[in-house]
């Protein structure tokens, strides 16, 4: 743990742009720029924001029937993933908990996988150990940049016209100013946008090309967190972990029908049982009625004062215009409209269970 934090290929650019650098999962990353978290958040909702996500693990999987083999580790129907398509998924453990979440893309002659920065040390050996006959190659020489927001298509399309033709969860290799990049139309903000994998020696050049657009501003980890929270997207380690099942986490949408029925993935027993009988607790949206933000670890109580759950992510939602939170509550209390209390610094604050997301997702379907 005493290792110096690592730097992405865009470190010098962050410093030049006034980024406030913090240690995140062993990486020196910008938490915000001079615009500030609130301004960067609004920039992303209204125009376009650029995030360096190079700390995430990029992995290439090569071999026969990679999609089918991934199905032994994940409850997703990756064997049915067509070339040029990306899909959200997760590794499950034998207890039906979530080991990490990830994005898997079928790149034609290989599969391209992106995993969380904090879990790459686990995920890469996990895949290497269990994907027989598959070459698992962690990519260390490429940056990953996300351009997100309603103007993302204009910003990225200006230097990469084929990006305009992609739909949500589609991926392609494309030339940007003479540099071969992988461009995928997806993200972690609830907005339309792209994640672009760029060779490290050209990362700054391509990033500057995006930032040259007057509609695009850099944004840090602070805005990334408030954006994903408003969009109702889970953060691994906070909202989902090795104890929470995907059914509890309201991620059943990410388990395709065939896999729900057939099983054949780690923890299938619990996951199929919870699909049939319903989970004991559920991840829900929680909207405090007052102004006090309810953060990770705050106890949720029923109106009669009995403990029914806990906040897993919470803070101020700049677009929602007030505090927003997600957390687990006992299923009997999970219906939207249910009134609850949040125990913030020893005082019960009124709140309501609400449907996620807090803001409408603007994906280009």
């Amino acid at each position: 743990m005493a290792d110096a934090p690592k730097r992405t290929p865009l470190y010098d650019l962050h410093v030049e742009l006034g980024g406030k650098m913090v240690d995140f999962a062993g990486w020196e990353m910008p938490v915000q720029y001079p615009l500030g978290i609130m301004g960067e958040h609004k920039q992303c909702r209204e125009k376009a924001a650029l995030f360096d996500v190079s700390h995430m693990g990029q992995v290439v999987l090569k071999g026969e029937n990679v999609g089918e083999k991934l199905e032994a580790l994940c409850p997703q129907a990756f064997s049915a993933l067509k070339e040029g398509k990306a899909r959200y998924g997760f590794f499950t453990n034998e207890g039906g908990g979530i080991m990490d979440d990830l994005i898997v893309s079928n790149a034609g002659d290989h599969f391209f996988v992106v995993v969380n920065a904090s879990m790459r040390h686990q995920d890469i050996p996990h895949m290497a150990a269990h994907l027989e006959g598959v070459e698992v190659v962690e990519i260390f020489d490429r940056a990953l940049v996300a351009v997100q927001g309603p103007k993302a298509e204009a910003v990225v399309g200006a230097v990469c016209p084929v990006a305009r033709d992609l739909k949500f969860m589609e991926t392609t290799v494309a030339d940007i100013n003479g540099v071969e990049c992988r461009v995928s139309r997806l993200g972690y903000t609830g907005e339309d946008g792209y994640e672009i994998s760029i060779p490290e020696d050209k990362a700054e050049e391509v990033t500057r090309a995006f930032l040259a657009d007057e509609n695009c501003e850099p944004a840090g980890l602070g805005a990334r967190d408030s954006l994903r929270l408003e969009a109702g997207l889970c953060l691994y380690g906070s909202d989902i972990d090795t104890e929470t099942s995907p059914i509890e986490a309201s991620l059943i949408w990410a388990i395709q029908k065939r896999r729900r029925e057939e099983g054949g993935f780690p923890g299938a027993e619990r996951i199929q049982r919870e699909i049939a009988e319903g989970p004991a607790r559920r991840l829900v949206g929680i909207r405090p009625e007052g102004r006090a933000p309810a953060r990770h670890g705050v106890e949720v109580q029923a109106e009669n004062g009995s403990a029914i759950g806990e906040i897993t992510s919470g803070g101020f939602g700049p677009t929602a215009g007030g505090p927003v939170a997600m957390g687990y509550v006992a299923s009997a209390h999970a219906e939207p409209g249910t009134k609850v209390h949040l125990m913030i610094r020893g005082k019960a604050q009124p709140a309501e269970i609400v449907a996620l997301p807090f803001v409408k997702q603007n994906y280009k379907r």
Binding site: G222, R291, P293, F316, P323
Partner: protein, 121 residues
């Protein structure tokens, strides 16, 4: 009238045995945009180092600690509806409390402006 500063980044402007108290511009800048302020009520007494409020920014919650012993005689109620005032004007409109000092000797333990500037440099 003199203004003193604490190591916890509060300012306290003293007139006789009463004072106005808030967080410094430096603290406000470090916190980032403030979205919520939790305050004590008029009439509550406190001792030096007691928690007398919480300021929440987009990033995190930060406690405010009393720089001296005293009693709250007035609360800046406008912060409940417009917490951003604390970010915009921490050392004027964004004051937190007017207090009655119980022990003016404690002021000598605080910093003056020059000392505070050196402290945060």
């Amino acid at each position: 009238m003199s203004t003193y500063f604490s190591e916890d980044h509060e300012w306290i402007k003293v007139e006789g045995d009463t004072a106005t108290l808030g967080i410094t511009a430096h603290a406000a800048e470090q916190l980032g945009e403030i979205v919520y302020v939790e305050q004590k009520e008029t009439g509550e007494s406190f001792e030096k180092s007691d928690e007398i409020g919480v300021v929440e920014s987009v990033k995190a919650a930060s406690e405010i600690y009393a720089p001296v012993d005293g009693e709250i005689v007035e609360v800046n109620g406008s912060l409940a509806d417009s917490p951003a005032t604390l970010s915009e004007s921490p050392e004027a409109d964004g004051w937190l409390y007017k207090i009655k000092l119980s022990n003016t000797d404690q002021l000598s333990e605080l910093m003056d402006l020059d000392a505070y500037k050196a402290f945060i440099a």
